[in-house]
């Protein structure tokens, strides 16, 4: 089953430590919908209206979805979807 990886900068918005989440897919968009259902408090962090914010980078198996099929990128099996928001700790 594919899984979403939630980095620390997203986990801080959640009441409990959830570092990854199994998802059904079959696309990145579907996986993000599953994430919003499970953790709706992430919606304002990740979405502008119905669109994924352009500040959030998404990688499937370490490939940028911008070079694949965007949020329509299909996922399956042991695929790993990594969400990376900007951070600036220095």
């Amino acid at each position: 089953m594919p899984k979403l990886i939630l980095p620390a900068a997203l986990r801080r918005h959640l009441p409990e430590t959830v570092s990854e989440m199994d998802v059904e897919g079959p696309t990145v968009a579907d996986a993000l919908d599953e994430l919003m259902l499970a953790h709706p408090q992430l919606r304002p962090v990740l979405f502008e209206g119905s669109e994924l914010k352009n500040t959030v980078r998404v990688f499937v198996n370490e490939e940028d979805i911008r070079s694949l099929h965007g949020t329509g990128t299909p996922i399956q099996g042991n695929d790993e979807v990594l969400l990376l928001p900007p951070i600036a700790g220095g």
Binding site: P7, A8, A9, R11, R12, H13, S19, V45, K53, N54, T55, R57, F59, E62, E63, D64, R66, S67, L82, L84, P85, P86, I87, A88, G89, G90
Partner: protein
């Protein structure tokens, strides 16, 4: 030319393949801006001073607070309440009196970025606020200077190197700052120090023209799980 004192001091690192005296001379002739000198920047500055980078321009405002001391390794307990930059300069001079240090008791802003970036060959971005990071980034793009971009949060860190004309820049990686970002963030000094050492070595490789830079690649370091991902970026 390196002096005998410098050859003795840097002998072990000059043994690194591809460095030698020529690489050490590049370090001696190099000028690097580091802003700020907090948990990441302190360690970047310490490592680059140790390596013999000829001129360090260091920017950091304010006075030392107790909460600085878990990670800002150039600040000392006995200097609490005094200007951070005084402590930074004192610690770096203690380590290496052979290099030139320029201390600026300000943080980076649109007002001073062009001047400070214009004084150096390379920038290491260690600022805790996006407005400072974008100011440095924009000045680097305008002036054609490479910028090592390092940032951390909790047990994770990002590292990449922007080279104008070769890579994108901070605005192409993250076009806008996240509105929820706060200057205070969870951090152990071991995490900020780890990414700082990696950023310092990235700067050293850039200056000595050795190794492979993290160009067009974002390194995502998850130190809580000791997982490192190399992610292509454009």
């Amino acid at each position: 030319m390196l002096t005998d004192e410098e050859k003795a001091r840097y002998e072990w690192q000059m043994w690194t393949p591809g460095v030698g005296e020529a690489g050490q001379e590049r370090l001696k002739n190099a000028r690097v801006l580091i802003s700020r000198c907090g948990g990441v920047g302190s360690v970047v500055a310490y490592e680059l001073a140790a390596a013999g980078v000829g001129k360090l321009v260091l920017a950091h405002a304010g006075n030392i607070k107790p909460s600085d001391l878990n990670r800002q390794l150039l600040m000392t307990h006995d200097a609490l309440g005094t200007p951070r930059m005084d402590s930074v300069l004192r610690r770096l001079r203690d380590l290496n009196p052979l290099i030139e240090l320029v201390g600026v008791k300000e943080n980076l802003s649109e007002a001073n970025a062009a001047d400070l970036v214009g004084q150096v060959d390379l920038v290491v971005d260690c600022a805790p606020l996006f407005v400072e990071r974008y100011a440095m980034n924009d000045a680097c793009v305008r002036l054609g200077k490479p910028m090592v971009e390092c940032a951390m949060f909790d047990g994770e860190a990002y590292l990449t190197t922007f080279v104008p004309g070769v890579t994108g820049d901070l605005r192409s990686l993250f076009p806008e700052p996240p509105p929820e970002w706060k200057r205070e963030f969870p951090v152990f000094g071991a995490v900020s120090g780890t990414i700082a050492c990696m950023a310092a070595y990235e700067a050293i490789k850039c200056i000595t023209q050795t190794g492979e830079l993290l160009t067009n690649t974002l390194l995502h370091c998850d130190l809580q799980r000791m997982r490192f991902r190399r992610l292509p970026i454009q």
